[in-house]
Symmetry: C2
Subunit: 219 residues, 2 copies
DNA sequence: ACCTGAACACCGTTCAAGT
DNA sequence: ACCTGAACACCGTTCAAGT
């Protein structure tokens, strides 16, 4: 118990476990110290404050992300999708941390530089101009961020949203959202059974098609 | 001073002002009560707890959002973009609140039902199937969420990110992100001067093109 | 250099009491 | 019904002191 020297790494590992197990709100400096069987103040010798702990956790989330270069065998569209899938997977590996990661500007911009290479590589192979690449990557990254936000906010009630949506739409004052009501009605409960995986793939299909269209048009 | 009766509405209005002026962290029940010149406990007669205050604020953000039906005069692609612009504008009207709004599942799903109608209407006019509409709307909403997240996280240093990105990329170990380094180098500092408005438009262009491609292909 | 105990200035919320 | 004061069980962090 506590016989090992305290270290930044040990602190962050324990912090990550607390967040994964009990959520971001459970992570307090005092609780963290208690779990490490150490005085709360000892933490401040390894990390300047709580913000630094959170930033350190954001680092950890991306530490595992590695993407092999698939070479020219696979088409650029598929390379792009693979990059997107890997990034999404990194974000949802620690759902309780996703919000923190996504909203910590410094964490994101620090890491985005390395995360972003596979996207650039795919689009470069697709023959896009530097400007087109830059804008397309920003767009797809924003989509992934928004998707991950939705995906990780909903704890694990993945499919419970469908009936909710259906009844909520039907309870609306008549004429408030007529198109929505009709379309949702036509889809029915089974059509609304939302699956995050296929939703993500559907988004990727739209985005790659849109990017390809821009290239073809020579924009 | 305080001669008027306390009300849920008055509490939320004051809370919104605090958040707009000083950020989300400045909003505490005690601080809110002090601003209202009232005992902290009085708040609890109008709102059950702090979470309810935050949820109420999320409501307020969307309260102002109203979108006129442009009719059939304007093409569906432009209708879709207008819906997206209106939604983005609602999210950035109170930047300090955006993160709260986006991460509060109940707030989002409550409001999404009404926010979403213009998107459905545009895509319905575009001749998409119910399934296509459902998926396309989810995708574009996710993009807007991710975009708004980035846009509102960066306080007001809009363009300061460009030189940062450039130097950070150039400081990378050689070969770590070669494509990124080359593309960013070709863009140069002026090419990287990121503008949120044009970045958003660029995303919308990609998305509408991708959606249109899916329709044309009859997917 | 690393760890500690006591203390400061805060939190959200409960509870019993007032009007 | 609405408001209050005192109290409880927490926070992050500073500071002076220990080894």
């Amino acid at each position: 118990m506590g016989e090992e020297r305290l270290s930044r790494e040990a602190i962050l590992t324990t912090a990550l476990r607390i967040v994964d197990d009990e959520g971001i709100d459970a992570l307090t400096m005092r609780r963290l110290a208690a779990t490490l069987e150490v005085n709360p103040m000892s933490l401040y010798h390894h990390l300047p404050n709580k913000a630094a702990v959170l930033a350190g956790l954001a680092e950890l989330v991306f530490a595992g992300l590695e993407l092999p270069d698939p070479g020219d065998a696979v088409p650029w569209q598929e390379q792009l999708k693979d990059a997107a899938r890997a990034y999404r997977n990194a974000l949802r590996a620690h759902p309780n941390l996703a919000l923190q990661v996504l909203s910590d500007t410094s964490a994101v911009s620090e890491v985005v530089v390395v995360v972003v290479e596979p996207f650039y590589r795919a689009l470069d192979r697709g023959g896009l101009s530097p400007r087109q690449i830059f804008e397309a990557v920003n767009t797809i990254i924003d989509f992934i961020h928004g998707f991950a936000l939705g995906e990780t906010s909903v704890r694990s009630e993945t499919f419970d949203l469908a009936p909710d949506l259906l009844t909520r739409v039907q309870d609306l004052p008549a004429g408030k959202a007529p198109t929505l009501a009709r379309v949702v009605g036509e889809l029915g409960p089974e059509g609304l059974a939302y699956d995050f995986d296929s939703g993500f793939e559907s988004g990727l299909t739209v985005l790659t098609a849109g990017i390809a269209a821009g290239v073809r048009r020579g924009r």
